[in-house]
Amino acid sequence: MKMFEEKWTAWLDDELTGDELVEFEASLPDKAAAEAEKRDAHKLGAFLKEQLQGRAMGNEEFFHHQLREKIERDARAGVAGGKADSPRAWWPIGRLVWVGATSLAIFCICTFFVMREKGPTDQSQYLSQILNARVDPVVSPNATISMFESKKDRVTVLWVDGLQSLPSEYATK
């Protein structure tokens, strides 16, 4: 059993038919006023339909293009960083710390290799060194060899005594 309001709405929408329509119209206290109200309702409906339709966009393609680009950018950022929803700072603290630690480690490795190559106790950085020396014992059986460094001019000297003396003609160019 329909309520009056339901029948009223259906009547306004011209959805009542047959006996139901006859019965409802007979039950109306003022049929003329009801008809006037029905016409107003139809007018209002037509007006709203007309006004509430979507407005056609003049530059529809431009907005579509912008939207597509934005979606693609977000998708790329989401794949690359996994945080598409938050704006990414260029050097966040975590990355700064990581890069600093890596640089320090690389510097330490390079320093280690350079220092190992030079050797902190290696005097040859400043002074020449005699590693070994020998004379022919047959030609110079009494030869003696010594070596020392003159700190004054940083001269390293290999001092060989006992080599066979030679005549002065050997001093010619």
Binding site: A80, S128, S140, L163, Y170
Partner: protein, 148 residues
């Protein structure tokens, strides 16, 4: 952003490695056969010996130093050999390689074809090498090597 980070990291690495590894330039080694003796009117000391003239005079007690043979060799790879010779003596120098500190040299002093002396040395760039050779007449043969 990712590309810029990599670029910055690359530049930092290049700077670190560049500062850690010093560049090695070619250098010249002067090798000389010198006769030291005492004379009334000594000649001027050769320019190659200027910087340690005092030490030479003090060590050997002579007032004249005369070059009888010399060679000036520019080392590029550090593994080269050369000869400084006079009429009767020759000094063969064989460089076995260079480091930042200097050169590893094998030296052989010949009197004509006789090997008088052989030595292995590390010649430092900041330190000349002097070898006392045989007495010659009233003087002394000296061998000198200087990185210039």
């Amino acid at each position: 952003m990712q590309r810029r980070s990599r670029l910055l990291l690359g530049v930092s690495l290049a700077l670190i490695i560049g500062s850690a590894l010093p560049a090695r330039a070619s250098q010249t080694v002067w090798s000389g056969l010198v006769i030291a003796n005492n004379v009334a009117q000594p000649e001027a000391i050769p320019p190659e010996l200027n910087r340690f003239e005092g030490t030479l005079k003090e060590l050997f007690g002579y007032n004249q130093f005369k070059v009888i043979g010399q060679s000036r060799k520019t080392l590029v790879t550090g593994s080269e050999d050369w000869l400084a010779s006079s009429k009767y003596f020759s000094l063969h120098v064989d460089s076995k390689g260079g480091t930042d500190a200097g050169y590893l040299l094998n030296l052989k002093l010949f009197q004509e074809k006789n090997l008088l002396l052989e030595t292995e040395t590390k010649l430092s760039k900041a330190s000349p090498l002097v070898i006392k050779g045989p007495l010659v007449g009233d003087g002394q043969l000296l061998l000198l090597l200087v990185v210039q």
